[in-house]
């Protein structure tokens, strides 16, 4: 389980991503106040929470940026490329500061240099004096009418030990408006028993503010899961006269019963005094209720309870564990189904069918929990495009389409690096310089389009540029030079394009920091394949290049083709399967050549029976499953093709980590194991064996 500080670090990184996005948007639309507000909110949250967790240097550094942004908001400084650049660099620096609660020597120097750059744009003197509650209030204000909130919160007992401090929260609430704070001490033990590291207090805050409930909830963002927090908005439009009476308030808070209220009222003394002296209620509770009564009387309203819309942050490993358990459940369900069918008992069949439905729903829901929109990954590339285009003195616009398209978290995590490389390539080699584009009568600004869309159970990601396109002759010459092809080899343009994915291939005349080392594209293809996907290229000279990546939506489930060899069952990934052909006994006579003829073409194949040394007689007619991997066709000879099979992948244990040719296993309805084959690895193994 991750601790509160780690949670803060994770969430702060999300805010930094949002901040980067807002700054990039702001660069394109400097007059749009919404982007300043977005950037401000992200900074403000990091600063507030950072202070709470002891990241004092981060807090102070962020404060300077926040103040500069405020100047920009007020129109006192011009939002230009230099200003955005220093804020973006500062944002990166904030990311580095998240690793430690205080500056390292290098970070101190970096901070000073960044502030120096900032001061060059915004005079230092004008930045430092304005951090007080009133300025914060003004900046954050959402211009709406006043609301009254009652905020109850009880930190858990370990809060102080975990480094939480309540003061920054009260300070933040005070920055939103007027507060009446009651510290509830009912659980405070005697001095003899007190452990100063344990938290025994709770708070009841009445807040009059122009802010929305969401803003208040954001204050508690980092403690939402651990503290008891209750936020109520008092309805100021309700004219019920009883609503602001102390007795009604105490009953509505569940602190006393109606009977106790009536008994006390009959005594004709001050209600709070009676209840307190009779030990029915703590004096702090009376004080808090009186504070609210005072405010509501002023504001003429009453309390309306609202539910908190909360999210739960769960470590990805727990989702993996859940997925694994669901996988087990699916398998047990399949076995139950099989037994129910075998014994034909009506009651068991009915239960099995019902369970089948529930298991399927549960599996789908569990998959959905793991799905994340690709937009967050796309967001990373805006900065990449901005910085690289400036470095190369090119003008490039990044267009993203389908950011809401969802992919399994594990796929998304592994997709980032290949995409970075493809985009770097497009910027470095694809998009021309401004002069070149003008000479070609193209717009000065090049465009890179990053799009994602669902197609069946796959996600198609396209990286498209309107640059110069791939130079077929240059690729061919380089391939000849590297002995990747021979002079007499006749290749289509599309086959030549795919040569750029060969290891060590690069047509760049000079190696740059950005790309052109000739190792990236090979790694890109391998990474995509490891994700069970494919990459292809579509390029038109002078018009641009498109890289098309097809990925499975999840790695936890596989759409496979089940085959049988003797008594063994195997699953081939359906994404690699092109077609199945029959191989008759007369063709098997040439089996030692390990080639099968398909529409005139000779295709190598691997006999799974031989490779896995499966015992038993070959059937008179065998099947060859033709797969297409890395632009190569390869067959797998099996006894029988059973059919399409969707299953949850069970990873092989650590004991089998070194075994190649399998990506996992699945358990069939009868309890037997079917191995999931990895065509590329088997092809490589077969090629080595043949050699």
């Amino acid at each position: 389980m991750i601790g509160p500080v780690e949670t803060f670090q994770v969430e702060a990184k999300e805010h930094l991503a949002a901040l980067e996005n807002a700054l990039l948007e702001l660069e394109d639309a400097p007059s749009n106040i919404d982007y300043i507000d977005q950037a401000f909110r992200s900074m403000h949250t990091i600063k507030g929470a950072g202070g709470m967790f002891g990241f004092a240097d981060l807090t102070e550094f962020t404060h300077h940026l926040e103040s500069a942004l405020e100047k920009a908001r007020n129109g006192q400084i011009v939002i230009d490329v230099d200003f955005i650049s220093v804020l973006l660099d500062s944002r990166d620096h904030m990311g580095a500061l998240l690793d430690n609660t205080s500056f390292t020597a290098e970070q101190k120097i970096a901070s000073e240099e960044l502030l120096k750059r900032l001061y060059a744009i915004v005079p230092a003197g004008s930045l430092t004096h304005e951090y007080d509650a009133n300025s914060q209030k003004e900046i954050n204000q959402e211009k709406t009418s006043n609301h009254v909130f009652r905020i109850l919160f009880s930190p858990d007992e370990d809060s102080f030990r975990n480094g939480f401090d309540v003061a920054p929260i009260l300070r933040e609430l005070a920055s939103f408006g007027e507060t009446i704070v009651t510290t509830k001490t009912a659980k405070l033990p005697s001095l003899k028993e007190i452990n100063p590291e344990s938290c025994y207090l709770a708070w009841d805050v009445c807040l009059i503010t122009q802010h929305s409930r969401n803003t208040i909830e954001d204050t508690f963002m980092f403690v939402m899961d651990d503290w008891e927090i209750h936020i109520e908005e008092i309805d100021l439009d309700d004219n019920d006269d009883n609503s602001d009476r102390l007795g009604e308030l105490l009953v509505s808070r569940g602190l006393i019963t109606t009977d106790q209220l009536n008994d006390a009222l009959n005594k004709h003394t001050e209600l709070g005094q009676i209840l307190s002296s009779e030990g029915l209620i703590d004096s702090d509770d009376i004080k808090a209720a009186l504070a609210e009564q005072q405010v509501t009387r002023q504001m003429k309203g009453k309390i309306v309870t609202q539910d908190i819309d909360s999210n739960i942050r769960v470590p990805a490993s727990r989702l993996d564990s859940l997925m694994n358990l669901v996988g087990e459940l699916v398998i047990v369900q399949a076995r139950l189904n099989q037994i129910a069918n075998q014994h034909d008992i009506e009651d068991i069949t009915a239960i099995s069918e019902e369970l089948d439905l529930l298991t399927t729903q549960m599996r789908d829901e569990t998959f959905n929990i793991r799905m994340l929109p690709i937009g967050a990954t796309f967001g990373r590339f805006r900065r990449l495009v901005r910085d690289l285009s400036k470095e190369l003195e090119k003008k490039i616009n990044l267009v993203t389409i389908g950011a809401e398209t969802e992919l399994d978290k594990m796929v998304l995590d592994k997709l980032g690096d290949p995409l970075v490389h493809l985009i770097r390539n497009s910027i470095d080699h694809g998009i021309e310089t401004i002069e070149e584009r003008i000479n070609k009568s193209k717009p000065e600004t090049g465009t890179i389009t990053l799009s994602a869309q669902h197609a069946d159970s796959q996600v198609i990601i396209r990286i498209q540029d309107d640059g110069k396109g791939l130079d077929v002759n240059a690729i061919r010459n380089k391939a000849l030079e590297k002995n990747l092809i021979t002079e007499d080899e006749k290749l289509s343009d599309s086959e030549i394009h795919m040569l750029i994915f060969e290891p060590g291939f690069s047509t760049a005349e000079k190696v740059s920091d950005i790309s052109g080392r000739g190792v990236g594209m090979d790694v890109v293809r391998r990474s995509i394949q490891e994700l069970g996907g494919k990459i292809s290229i579509d390029s038109i000279p002078g018009e641009g290049t498109s890289f098309v990546i097809r990925l499975p939506m999840t790695l936890a489930i596989i759409e496979g083709l089940m085959v049988r060899v003797g008594a063994e069952y195997y699953v081939l990934p359906l994404s690699a399967v092109e077609e199945c052909i029959e191989m008759f006994s007369d063709q098997q006579a040439f089996a030692n050549k390990r080639l099968v003829t398909l529409r005139g073409a000779q295709i190598p194949y691997l006999s799974l029976r031989e490779y896995f040394q499966v015992e038993g007689e070959r059937p008179p007619i065998q099947q060859v499953v033709i797969t297409h991997v890395n632009d190569e066709y390869f067959g797998f000879c099996v006894d029988e093709v059973i059919g399409q099979y969707q299953t949850v992948i069970k990873r092989l244990g650590k004991l089998y980590e070194g075994v190649t040719g399998f990506s996992g296993a699945t358990i069939l309805g009868d309890g037997s194991v079917a191995m999931i084959l990895e065509p590329q690895a088997l092809m490589d193994a077969a090629t080595v064996e043949n050699a």
Binding site: A167, V181, T183
Partner: protein, 108 residues
């Protein structure tokens, strides 16, 4: 655990010493003394307490409760501006000693 908590912890425990008439000067953080025989009064001298966080605030409130139970007065002295602001933030009030000085005379 911060030094602050460690020291206030000592402060809390020292208060429980049976010889309560004595003056306790706790490290550089908190000095407290109890005039229990002459006048039931507990003075918390915050001379060396530059600032307090919520743990410190909780401890002050614990002293306040203790004094209510023991029917003795609680007064603070040498409250720094920062401590004052924290008290205002929590909207907690404590009585102050009329004269405050850097050279407190603890003699009875």
């Amino acid at each position: 655990m911060s030094d602050y908590v460690a020291k206030t912890d000592i402060a809390a425990r020292t208060l429980l010493a049976p010889d309560a008439i004595n003056i306790y000067n706790i490290g550089e953080v908190l000095t407290l003394f109890l005039h229990s025989k002459i006048e039931p009064l507990l003075v918390l001298d915050l001379l060396n307490t530059v600032e307090i966080d919520t743990t410190g605030m909780q401890l002050l409130l614990a002293f306040q409760h203790h004094c209510v139970e023991q029917q003795c007065q609680l007064k603070l002295c040498n409250v720094s501006e920062s401590v004052e602001q924290t008290m205002q933030l929590f909207q907690c009030t404590f009585e102050r000693l009329a004269t405050e000085s850097n050279e407190m005379d603890y003699s009875v």
